[in-house]
Symmetry: C2
Subunit: 439 residues, 2 copies
């Protein structure tokens, strides 16, 4: 089946990566091309589909799924069919219902979002009342030649015809754009949850808590006689990153971008320690860091470390106080425990790891005694797109390549290699993989 | 020993409420008057000392304390002696070192804070590196005639000679001012952690997340094509309060104050449900609410409910979505579980309850799946004083009385009644008690 003809004939079969229960059973096989079954649907011809750490939760049988499914939730592609809701006079609905056309290039977030419920309107798009993950039994995923996108006018992000600041967009490779589907927005989200939190914002603003952090009653009231004035040391922000997989790399690059901007404009000093037990992961991040042009990583200290070394460094750098914020980008309790150990009192833990059944590894006394704040959960990718896209454009030095020492994407392969790639990826023996379903 | 003479003779013995291990053993007995042992110390003659829910943790033997102590951590009084650090030329130190005088009226927060370490300077005063609770074996508490205040230039808040906006201050009764020592700032803190959180701030600002919540990279970027515009419904904020003891009442009044201000200025609608299993506590809060003048409680819905009724109400009011924020003001796992049950996805739980050894009652999946945020821990009372004082002045209708149906303070008693009062208070058979050590 050739790529050109396939785009026109949507009635037949396609090739797809399928998972069978209970675990570790990947098959590349023929599956029906998805059809429009709801007026809000679009069918997207997949140009590239990613293999992601989150796919491994299902692969390993950790998600209690008991029927087979089509894998994948990172999708960049081209619209080949649109449901009847897409029409020029579709007013009062998300913009794409009236403007999206067959042939448009799009990225899909890893979950469906309608763009019309309260959660979507307020930007919490991953908790849309119609939310659904791609790559589950009821919603076939993107590691296939075609994929059906429900609520497509709310879910999709169109890459054609964007205004500035996205002017450079047409130069971006698909292998770069696919980072928008999940891992780059998730990295940005991890970094922003930390930088926006009032306990950190006080430092960023250089105003004692609670006056630096958003709405306060009687905002004109001052800190009173409480303390001596802020000193330069108080403007030093120490951040830890726990977990340096692809999402951890995206979180680090996003964080450096945010901090370098603040350093320049607000006289802030920062120091970042990035921790992972795996040497290959540490080396990758170091190579990425070395690639970033100096003005975009600021003048703060940056060190990549293994677990014990990282802990020690935080102690040294902060005189035992700990990190102001820790980004947890792993998804297990050892990572949450490490994050707690290295965060300072009144610090914040921004956790984007996907956590499972075990209870949180903290007692009530632990969290009370440190005045810890936590932000948990899934990235609202659709709402983070505009910001993630800015960073993607700015950081093409990092996000532009494939297969280099510093690139996030390791290789682009055929669907036929899926069985092997899942195996390698599961064992941490390769970096991020993309499937091109047409080779 | 008469009040007047005692202020002059600081060498002898005083009366004090003492606790003996292992539990439930309160004795009113003679104890040495504390002396200045560090240059930064002040000795305060106690005018009133509070009995607080937190005293019960020690009373019941839950804090693993194994030697006797002088109880109490809520103190309003008058300075009777100052260490040598207090001198007109004590520059570069917190203001009070150069300005505090014998005879000045002061409130002490329930913990010591130096005003000079990083944590104090940035406003996280309860995590001062010299932090110490009053009422532990090594720092005698305030249920006595005199109390020693360490790091007094950083710890104390002087009530005399304050500038506007505190003009009405001299009219306030000591029984009102003592609320500043702990429970009112803690209530304000509970409410502010919720109102300042970026996930709530987006609603307050009327801008989709993440653009309404503090620092964002590329802040000029817009929400993109993601969703339809915000609707009036999106500006309705639903808040739950779990636990209506004295701190819960303070949290509720503070929250209403914040929300009523926002309603007026920003077109926000809010609805509040306040939950406690105890009828007496519900009745007290209802009486307090009825006392507040209409312009300071806004036009939103407000309902006091028992646990099951409260849950049902949240469901009804929010079409099953849940509360945007929940204030947890109890300090046990049943309260944290209730807070989780009624919070909506992307909601925040502001927890000021003092939690103990049991593990947090949440799995990793629970917190991931709801995108919950938590703020835990102790109130930085010293940093919250200016804001709490504003609310105290404004809400004298609530915080001004003693022994009325709507007053927070139930009665003022002699130290001699301590044994009985601890018993009654422990069983929830009386409201908030103040000790006057001079009757
Ligand atoms: N919140 C979201 O919306 C969202 C989106 C995408 C991915 N995720 C999740 O983010 C997490 C990271 O994704 P990824 O693709 O980078 O995963 P990955 O498995 O490739 O990387 C995780 C890294 O964490 C390291 N690690 C393990 N235990 C550690 C510890 N105790 N301390 C420090 N590092 C430790 C591992 O060595 C590994 O390098 C996963 O849980 C994934 O499911 C969440
Ligand atoms: N964070 C701080 O700095 C700080 C400061 C002062 C007090 N505290 C703590 O705040 C908490 C409240 O203090 P208080 O003096 O009002 O205590 P309190 O014991 O008088 O009141 C607690 C209330 O919670 C209610 N309650 C119990 N379980 C409940 C549940 N599952 N759902 C709803 N309500 C429930 C009780 O009926 C009671 O009315 C305590 O834990 C106290 O130690 C913390
Ligand atoms: Zn939606
Ligand atoms: Zn201090």
């Amino acid at each position: 089946m050739g790529a050109d003809n396939a785009a026109l004939d949507l009635s037949g079969m396609q090739r797809a990566v399928r998972w069978y229960p209970p675990a570790y059973d990947i098959r590349v096989e023929a599956a029906p091309i998805p059809q429009i079954i709801d007026p809000d649907d679009a069918i997207v011809k997949v140009k590239l589909a990613g293999l992601c750490g989150s796919d491994l939760h299902i692969y390993r049988g950790h998600e209690d799924v008991d029927s087979e499914l089509t894998c994948g939730h990172e999708i960049v592609g081209e619209v080949v069919a649109l449901g009847p809701s897409f029409r020029a006079d579709a007013t009062g609905r998300p913009e794409l219902y009236s403007t999206l056309r067959v042939g448009d290039k799009v990225v899909s977030p890893f979950t469906v979002s309608c763009g019309e419920c309260h959660f979507c309107r307020i930007g919490f798009t991953c908790r849309c009342i119609h939310s659904c993950l791609f790559g589950i039994p009821t919603l076939p995923g993107g590691q296939a030649q075609y994929v059906r996108i429900p609520k497509a006018g709310g879910t999709l992000f169109r890459l054609d015809g964007l205004q500035s600041p996205s002017a450079g967009l047409s130069n971006l490779a698909d292998s770069s754009l696919i980072l928008l589907a999940d891992i780059l927005p998730t990295g940005v989200f991890a970094a922003m949850q930390a930088s926006q939190h009032p306990k950190v914002a006080s430092l960023l603003a250089g105003k004692p808590y609670p006056f630096g952090g958003g709405y306060v009653p009687g905002g004109s009231v001052s800190h009173g006689q409480a303390a001596t004035a802020l000193q330069p040391d108080d403007r030093t922000l120490t951040i830890g990153i726990v977990g340096l997989g692809p999402v951890g790399v995206c979180a680090t690059v996003s964080l450096l971008d945010i901090l370098a901007g603040l350093e320049a404009s607000q006289g802030l000093v920062f120091q970042v320690v990035a921790i992972d037990p795996l040497e290959s992961r540490r080396n990758k991040l170091q190579a990425v860091y070395d690639t970033i042009e100096p003005s975009w990583k600021g003048s703060g200290r940056f060190t990549v470390a293994a677990v014990e070394g990282g802990k020690k460094l935080v102690q040294e750098w902060t005189n035992g106080a700990g990190c102001n914020a820790v980004l947890e980008v792993v998804g297990n309790n050892s990572a949450l425990t490490l994050a707690y150990d290295i965060v300072r009192p009144f610090g914040i833990i921004s956790s984007v790891g996907v956590h499972q059944e075990p209870p949180l590894p903290f007692s009530g006394r632990d969290v009370y005694n440190k005045n810890v704040s936590f932000d948990f959960g899934r990235c609202p990718v659709r709402a983070m797109f505009p910001i993630a896209l800015e960073i993607l454009l700015k950081r093409q030095d990092v996000f532009g390549g494939v297969g280099t020492e510093a690139s996030l994407i390791d290789r682009i392969v055929s669907l036929d290699q899926a069985v092997e790639m899942y195996k390698l990826f599961d064992k941490g023996q390769c970096g991020k993989i993309l499937f091109d379903p047409w080779v």
